[in-house]
């Protein structure tokens, strides 16, 4: 199959889909859903309140659905390309949990109240430390080493988060943190968008700059060096790009796992398995997936709204197991 021919159309289709889902996201909510619901809402409420609902409640949610989904998809694709490992993902290797720990500390100490910027910065700091640790421990070692290191670091960060909750004297604050950790983009405001988007965009640029080198890295590190790749520069781009974008996501939305695992896996065959091409495709598909999941949690009415992070984990967990099973089979063959 000639993948060159399909690459640009694929990106065009994904862009269109993301746009459609973005608009759909604006049209879904408790105040009125769909064309008829929107119509009814428009007739019933003040035009000012109508525009307020759209601008202040639904728009931030749709924007965050797009940016966070794109960040997670892009970071997943880049990590997989860099570590040359199809199981690498910000959540699986513990980056999201570390970012959550950083954010929880910022919330717990009240730092985020004094300085809102502390929330994303602490989350980004947390992910920086973990990616650095993972790189040092697992590097480009085997799949097993990477996953084990991720599990160990995840549980350590989880334990530290529990410790913070344990030490919290205010049970309501703890409950709030627990719910926040589940991962959601409900009831976020434009200020959340302003707080996170600049970081994510910086992260995207850093990750995108590594794209071409990721292709060459698939030939192995020495060949990449022989072709003029500066390994420490690439490491900087990937580590800081992932930490900044995923840290900013987690600071705003809590832990939303598995997007960075599922999306690159689905996109890979469509882009001829080329790591560089996987990046834009995964970013767009990640945005689509998260927007779609966020629309679903609003449409599925089971009394209380499902958290986005819970849904992605429910889909992603079994998917992850399936992926390991398939890798095992292909290794045996």
């Amino acid at each position: 199959m000639d993948n060159n021919k399909y690459y640009l159309p694929l990106l065009a289709v994904l862009t269109l889909l993301a746009l459609l889902l973005f608009i759909t996201s604006l049209m879904v909510g408790s105040a009125g859903t769909g064309f008829s619901g929107m119509r009814a809402m428009f007739d019933q409420v003040d035009p000012e309140i109508f525009s307020l609902i759209i601008r202040e409640i639904r728009l931030p949610r749709a924007i965050l659905g797009f940016t966070i989904g794109a960040s997670l998809g892009l970071a997943g694709a880049t990590l997989q390309g860099y570590l040359r490992n199809p199981l690498a993902e910000p959540g699986v290797i513990g980056v999201s949990t570390a970012a959550a720990l950083g954010a929880v500390i910022a919330i717990y100490t009240g730092l985020s109240l004094v300085m809102p910027l502390a929330l994303p910065l602490m989350a980004i700091g947390g992910s920086f430390i973990v990616i650095f640790l993972i790189q040092t421990i697992a590097g480009t070692g085997s799949v097993a080493t990477l996953i084990l290191a991720g599990v160990a670091i995840s549980s350590l960060c989880g334990a530290l988060t529990s410790l913070v909750l344990n030490l919290s004297e205010n049970p309501f604050a703890s409950l709030e943190i627990v719910f926040w950790l589940l991962g959601s983009i409900t009831d976020r405001s434009m200020s959340h968008v302003w707080l996170s988007t600049p970081f994510m965009i910086i992260g995207w640029f850093l990750l995108a700059a590594s794209a071409r080198s990721l292709d060459v890295l698939s030939l192995g590190e020495e060949t990449a060096v022989s072709l003029g790749v500066n390994l420490s520069r690439i490491r900087f781009l990937v580590i800081s790009g992932t930490a900044i974008s995923v840290g900013a996501c987690t600071a705003i939305a809590g832990v939303i796992g598995f997007v960075g695992l599922i999306v690159p896996h689905l996109m890979r065959p469509l882009v001829g398995h080329q790591p560089s091409r996987l990046l834009p495709a995964s970013a767009l598909a990640g945005a689509c997936l998260l927007l779609c999941a966020d629309i679903m949690v609003r449409l599925v009415n089971i009394g209380t709204e499902l958290k986005l992070g819970v849904v992605t984990a429910l889909i992603g967990g079994p998917f992850f197991l399936l992926l390991i099973l398939r890798l095992k089979v292909s290794h045996r063959a």
Binding site: D2, R84, T223, L227, H273
Partner: protein, 260 residues
């Protein structure tokens, strides 16, 4: 264009892998780097491409220290084919060859016409055009080796370093690969090839450099290097030797300790 290693010493964890070694090769030459396992052949190649540090001595290109070259300049001058060729993703064969054009490509955007042409030529040079649109993992070992060789040639470098290019190939592909390297040398490219097959080395190489324990033991035309004494001392084998038409064929026949 001439690459010179002058008194190079490479230490890995305080262990001297290469010990005050000097060698040179230039455009148009097909040079075989031979020696037993652990002699330091691969380490030396890695030092030349900049993937291994050396603690002493100098590597120069036409008298200019390699260290003064930018990574991209070095990449355009020296192409490298590693011994281990695991590729993580199921890339299309042509896309793999295109990776050789990395030093010439910008961060974003499609490859230039020059790049496409270089890839076409490289595929043509190894007779791999017919299966270049297939994915790499669907190819046989021989076809895969040809694609990886094409990747190395696609760089368009005047000097090429290849590490055991025929180690895992059947006789046909071994000779095919050696023919390609010979043709490239005749076109004016300098090729330094690490080889284990002494028969192939004797048959195809203009010059052999025999190294052991990180130092050059012998150097010259195959006939001078592949002597019984050298093979016994360095390889610990007794060869069975034939001397057809001005060359020398050394067949590894038995270990030195047995019945000598």
């Amino acid at each position: 264009m001439k690459l010179e290693a002058d008194n190079i010493t490479i230490e890995i964890r305080h262990h001297k892998i290469i010990n005050e070694l000097s060698l040179s090769f230039e455009r148009g030459e097909l040079v075989g780097l031979i020696g037993p396992n652990g002699a330091g052949k691969t380490t030396l190649l890695k030092a030349i491409i900049g993937a291994e540090k050396y603690s002493q001595g100098q590597l120069t290109l036409d008298g200019v220290p390699l260290k003064n070259l930018s990574p991209v300049e070095r990449a355009k001058t020296l192409a490298y084919l590693p011994q281990e060729s695991r590729i993580e993703w199921q890339l299309q064969a042509r896309a793999v060859v295109m990776l050789g054009r990395f030093p010439y490509r910008r961060t974003f955007g499609p490859p230039s016409i020059d790049c496409e042409r270089a890839v076409d030529n490289a595929l043509d040079a190894v007779n791999a055009t017919s299966f270049s649109s297939r994915s790499l993992n669907s190819l046989s070992g021989g076809e895969r080796a040809l694609i990886l060789l094409a990747r190395t040639l696609a760089v368009g470098a005047p000097l090429v370093l290849v590490d055991e290019p025929i180690a895992e190939l059947d006789p046909y592909h071994q000779i095919h690969v050696m023919d390609i390297l010979k043709a490239k040398a005749n076109e004016g490219i300098g090729v330094l090839a690490v080889l284990h097959d002494l028969t192939m080395a004797a048959h195809f190489m203009d010059r052999l450099i025999l190294i052991n324990n990180g130092s050059v033991v012998a150097e010259g035309v195959p006939k001078e290097v592949l002597t019984k004494a050298n093979l016994e001392e360095v390889y610990r084998i007794s060869p069975r030797q034939e001397y057809p038409a001005n060359t020398s064929i050394a067949l590894p026949w038995k270990t030195k300790n047995v019945d000598t």
